[in-house]
């Protein structure tokens, strides 16, 4: 670790719609080191997918627009590249795996075509060589009888296998960064575990950095080095994974942790949902975007949106009342008081 691979600064993404401007991403700043795994957590509409699609420059413009921000990848600002330069990075140095493997693979093209086309394009491989590489890739993601399955069409694969094919496609050009946009959300729990295991193994073998988008903290607990929690287009808390679970200091993170079912709890304990709805991204409220749903709310929260404040070792939270959160959260989470991780 050490070298910064991706440095996102003050990134904003908006969509112009008939109802007004949707503020999807509102000034996101974070850095990712080489080989690091970052979890991007939040509910639907929190801007996690949109921010990553912006990094990939896959936002349709119009209606989308990027009023500010820098995305420094290996020293280059991706937002300043020409479409052609960006195209050469996509799928080659940064790859993306999408949520729904049922619709994300092209139904009328063979798996072989879909894997080999980027190999031929980005790495200049011959057809034969690309085919051999495709077989290797399919074996890498545990597709049985890879040679035989290569000429099959997506509908001949199960959902879990299709997602593995997607991952094989994503890894085909050995990218430095793999962005996984809820890759397990559409799958059964057992298949989810298979996919995360495969990604974990490939990460240790290939050493690429990963940004894993999910709304499920449980999925990335064993996967991510660090977690960014997003809410209505802001990063509201960021910390190392262990620290985040042991010492959450934003009421929204506490809420997310409270809504994970736990095996060690009695049956009588109900899950604690987060009451209310996320704010309207067209007419954003003043102050903290979470104040409407927050039990720690004070007058200041209505007036001023908190910036990310350093609250611990490599731990930032955008909450004015993080001290109060520290005191009350274990009660809310029905758990023994855990000691915060030191260093």
């Amino acid at each position: 670790m050490g070298n910064v691979l991706l440095d996102v600064r003050n990134l904003r993404t908006e969509f112009v719609t008939q109802d007004g401007v949707v503020h999807a991403v509102n000034g996101v700043t974070f850095a990712l080191e080489e080989g690091e795994t970052l979890g991007l957590v939040g509910e639907s509409g929190s801007g996690k997918s949109v921010s990553m699609l912006t990094v990939m420059r896959l936002i349709p413009m119009p209606p989308g627009r990027i009023p500010s921000g820098e995305v420094i990848f290996q020293g280059q600002d991706l937002l300043k590249l020409s479409p052609e330069e960006m195209r050469q990075i996509r799928g080659n140095k940064i790859a993306m795996v999408f949520q729904d493997p049922m619709t994300s693979l092209n139904p009328v093209l063979t798996i072989s075509t879909q894997i080999t086309e980027s190999l031929e394009l980005h790495l200049g491989m011959s057809k034969d060589k690309a085919r051999k590489r495709a077989v290797e890739l399919l074996k890498m993601v545990n597709i049985p009888e890879a040679e035989r399955r290569l000429d099959d069409y997506p509908h001949q694969f199960s959902g879990g296998m299709r997602q593995r094919v997607m991952i094989a496609m994503g890894l085909s050009c050995s990218p430095q960064l793999l962005i996984a946009d809820e890759p397990t959300t559409a799958l059964d729990v057992t298949i989810q575990a298979q996919i995360t295991d495969i990604v974990k193994r490939l990460k240790s073998e290939l050493g690429m950095a990963i940004i894993w988008i999910t709304h499920d903290l449980g999925v990335i607990a064993g996967l991510a080095d660090r977690i960014n929690v997003m809410y209505s287009g802001y990063i509201v808390e960021t910390a190392h994974t262990k620290e985040m679970f042991a010492n959450p200091l934003h009421p929204y993170t506490v809420g997310l942790l409270g809504s994970i079912p736990r095996l060690d709890e009695g049956k009588k304990e109900k899950l604690t949902p987060i009451e209310g709805l996320p704010p309207d991204l067209v007419n954003m409220p003043t102050g903290c975007p979470f104040h409407d749903r927050c039990s720690f709310r004070t007058q200041k929260c209505l007036e001023e949106n908190p910036p990310l404040m350093s609250v611990g070792v490599k731990h930032w939270s955008a909450c004015w009342n993080y001290e109060a959160v520290r005191e009350k959260r274990d009660e809310i989470l029905h758990r023994e008081i855990l000691q915060p991780v030191t260093a």
């Binding site: 195209r87 996509r90 999408f98 092209n106 139904p107 980027s118 069409y153």
Partner: protein, 318 residues
Amino acid sequence: MLAYIVQRLIWLPVLLILISLVTFALGLYGPGDPVQVMMGLHTNPQIVEQVRQEYGFDQPFLVQYWNYITNALQGNFGYSLVKYQGQRVSDLIAKRLPITLQLNLVAILWSVPLGIALGIFAALKRKSWLDVFVRGVVILGISLPVIGLMPVLDFALSRKHELGALVIGPFLPPGGWRGIFAPHIIQPAFILGLGLLAVYTRQTRAAMIEVMSADYVRTARAKGLKEWMVVMRHALRNAWIPLITIIGFTLAGLFAGSFLVEQFYSIPGIGALAYESLLSKEYYVIMAFTLIAATVYVIINLIIDIAYAFVDPRIRYK
């Protein structure tokens, strides 16, 4: 794939028998008595009866049907009773059909590829001036009736006759058929193609817009493919699936799609033949025409189904 085609083929004769039965029944029991038509109204009833027996019209329905069908399968669709008296219906059709086919082919060849290309461009440049222009042309093409457009076009071109007789003169169809390479084909083929152009542009545009927003197109872009690869390989192949249906019906229309235009420009095609036969109650001609048209539609439908399987692997491997 083979099983799929065989399955389709089994249904083909069943459908054709049903169609011929309905056609024959309509011809036999529909309005108008062929013998009356042939003999005129003021004929001795005894002679009428005699002719009826001679032609076999007094026999039971199924016997008549059987005779007709066995003859038809050998290419004999009977004889013209009135207008082209004594001529074989099959000869009439064989003489007229190529003219219609050629005319329609020229219309299809200029309009369908252009329509598909315009549809793709309009979808890719959605909401640009090109898209607005194309949509305007489409609305005009769909809403202007051919029957109104023909005289207007004719009139407009004739008015300029003094100015540029040399330029426009050859393009004015004085009527009749002078083959596929004569400039006289331009006006009827233009009129015929206009509707096709509109339909193809609209359908292609709609199909492409839908496909371009599909998840797999986003995947293709995320792979860093060149834009033409995204469009031609990933999007267009999926857009073909809805387009195949209308391509099939256009091909079927090759046979029967140009009644009005043939009539207006006095082109002696099969559309004109059918229309004349209708007016003069040409019993056998109309029956043959209906039967052949229906058969063409059924066969085209079969071809469409097979074409689907070629384009869409999900059907092929079911």
